[in-house]
């Protein structure tokens, strides 16, 4: 196996590095990605974002409106899912919260279609398929709501 081990090792390193460069680094040069940073979040909304990360809201909610569903999908009223997401909208985000499964509605523009009070109800009531988050402290809840309102 001695010769094969060397060859396979080099092959795997080359394939994996090429794959990574092509699919995850080269896109950085694409003009659609390389744009100004999105408007920063307020300090409170940034704390709220970490509550979102910690509680794993990303497991059930995406934050990406695909081109094919933009201004067309219905969360409550026709078209209220909002416009298509663009790459630049995510600039600077860490971790990015695109999500890959929707059990709940897309939240990219939730701040534009709801009020703080409605958001509180969604998080606390535990009706309609969304688990309740009554264990969050008042401060955490306020931060989280501020973050959600900033998503427009």
């Amino acid at each position: 196996m001695r010769d094969a081990v060397g060859a396979v090792g080099r092959l795997v390193v080359a394939a994996v590095v090429c794959g990574f460069v092509v699919t995850a680094l080269l896109p950085a040069l694409d003009p659609a990605v390389r744009t100004a940073r999105a408007a920063p979040l307020s300090a409170q909304a940034a704390r709220g974002r970490w509550v979102y990360v910690r509680e794993g809201c990303v497991v059930c909610h995406t934050q990406q409106v695909r081109g094919v569903e933009a201004r067309f999908g219905v969360v409550r009223a026709p078209g209220d899912v909002g416009q298509a997401s663009t790459a630049e909208q995510y600039s600077g985000q860490d971790p990015v919260l695109l999500g890959r499964l929707r059990l709940g509605p897309d939240l990219s523009r939730v701040g534009a279609r709801t009020s703080g009070q409605e958001l509180r109800t969604a998080l606390l009531s535990g009706t309609g398929g969304m688990p309740s988050y009554r264990y969050l402290s008042d401060a955490e809840l306020a931060d989280l709501v501020a973050y959600l309102l900033a998503l427009r």
């Binding site: 994996v16 995850a24 910690r54 497991v59 695909r66 081109g67 860490d94 929707r102």
Partner: protein, 464 residues
């Protein structure tokens, strides 16, 4: 204590990795069953922070991939690699050290993710100390495997696949999680999304599948004395797997907010992955030709074949779903979960089947109860037959309702609750099956029929 932990007894690390995989599996599949229950009935344990749904899914995935699947695969792979010229592994103590590093890592990540310390990247949740421990373990394993394999006189594509997996894992961890910059995530914005996708695809196609493929080709051919794939075809499958697998990540973003050419690369690579996976399935089946009479009554063999079939159908379905038309409907829906059941479940079934087949060669005893192993197999097959169609159907109906542009989103999801309840029942069956598996391994090591030393070897087969 230290002497016990780092013993150089032959196959000690193999045994421990297999036991660890079986035990982590019980926990991982319990998490999976709980997550499935919460999908069907969202308020289950919603008021207990560390088992609220978001954390359960994150912890469960981590336990599943790194605890359950990885430990089982590594155990089986080390046994196969160590056969070589009968000398065993190049260093048992080092292989044992990597087991302990991974054990500590797994306990920490279980604890931390449940209590809310996470990086928030699906399948890459674990915080940096866990990553570093895992990387150290992976590098040690690579070193041990490399030094063992270079002693082996024969060239074998099955062992090459195993080696590809051990080379792939550290690369995927370093690049996909940015471990060259360990304490912080070096990727931001859409590049973070793309590197997350690379990590997820890499864990499956550059780690799980090459290991499962290599181990099962080796074990089946050693049992029947017949190689299923010629050297050329075997190496071609390896090449296809690693090169398409490294490019397949962006298939997650069809129609999404990443440049169109990247989506195209990902979708094409995802489609091409069908080829190497199907080739390995054919290889496994061909090495059984003419031996079905004698081996077909071993549940391990059927487990391996069922696993490859599930894996092949899963990869075909995900190729289908990344096509532009179908993806419009099923993308981001529960369809993806159905595919994951088949792909990851198939991979794990291959690992479990190999573990059943390897007991005489690892524990020196033949499997305590084939009847229990058959029950395990049936539990898993029934679970797939329930949950994969239920989730695929739920995804289709959810996507179709969404595509009408008239049905509010939550209604479509609400309508799929009965299907989610079916998926929960299936998850429960898999969990019971896993407990049966672990019990059978325990019985075997405790009171299985001893096997004569000569039959404990697992000699490689000369090229076909």
């Amino acid at each position: 204590m230290l002497a016990w932990m780092f013993t150089d007894e032959r196959w000690s690390s193999v045994r421990r990795f297999l036991y660890a995989g079986a035990l982590w599996g019980i926990l991982a599949l319990a998490y999976e069953a709980l997550a499935a229950a919460q999908r069907a009935w969202p308020q289950v344990l919603a008021d207990v922070p560390w088992v609220s749904h978001g954390r359960v899914v994150a912890t469960g995935q981590d336990l599943w991939v790194f605890g359950f699947l990885s430990h089982l695969l590594v155990g089986a792979a080390l046994r196969v690699v160590g056969q070589g010229d009968r000398e065993g592994l190049w260093s048992e103590p080092l292989a044992n050290l990597s087991l302990w590093l991974w054990t500590v890592a797994q306990v920490l990540s279980w604890w931390w993710i449940s209590t809310g310390w996470t990086r928030g990247r699906p399948l890459g949740e674990a915080p940096w100390p866990v990553d570093l421990l895992r990387l150290a373990g992976a590098l040690l394993l690579l070193w041990v495997v490399r030094n063992t394999l270079v002693r082996s006189p024969r060239r074998d594509p099955a062992l090459a696949l195993v080696f590809a997996g051990f080379t792939g894992l550290p690369l995927v961890l370093v690049l996909g999680k940015g471990l060259f910059w360990p304490f912080d995530n070096p990727y931001h914005g859409i590049l973070d999304a793309l590197s997350q996708a690379f990590l997820r695809a890499g864990l499956v196609w550059l780690w799980g599948v090459p290991l499962a493929g290599g181990v099962c080709l080796y074990v089946l051919s050693a049992l029947t004395g017949r190689r299923g794939l010629s050297e050329g075809v075997g190496f071609a499958a390896l090449f296809g797997l690693v090169s398409f697998g490294a490019l397949a990540g962006p298939a997650e973003f069809v129609w999404g907010p990443v440049p169109f050419w990247v989506q195209t690369v990902g979708a094409v690579a995802q489609g091409l992955l069908v080829l190497p996976v199907a080739t390995l399935l054919v290889g496994a089946a061909r090495s059984l030709e003419g031996h079905w009479q004698s081996l077909g009554d071993h549940p391990g063999v059927v487990f391996v074949l069922a696993g490859w079939l599930a894996l092949t159908s899963g990869v075909s379905l995900s190729a289908l779903a990344s096509l532009v038309g179908p993806s419009r409907v099923v993308h981001l829906s529960l369809w993806g979960e159905g595919v994951r059941v088949l792909v990851l479940g198939g991979c794990a079934a291959v690992a479990v089947g190999c573990a059943y087949l390897l007991t005489p060669h690892v524990l020196g005893r033949s499997l305590a109860s084939r009847a229990l192993a058959w029950r395990h197999l049936w539990l898993v097959v029934v679970a797939w037959a329930l949950s994969a169609p239920a989730l695929l159907l739920a995804g289709l109906s959810q996507g179709a309702a969404w595509a009408t542009g008239t049905v509010p989103f939550a209604h479509a999801v609400q309508a799929s609750r009965p299907l989610l309840a079916v998926a929960w029942a299936a998850a429960l069956l898999v969990w019971v099956g896993q407990a049966v598996f672990a019990w059978n391994l325990f019985l075997t090591s405790d009171s299985g029929e001893p096997v004569p030393a000569a039959e404990q070897e697992l000699l490689p087969v000369a090229g076909s």
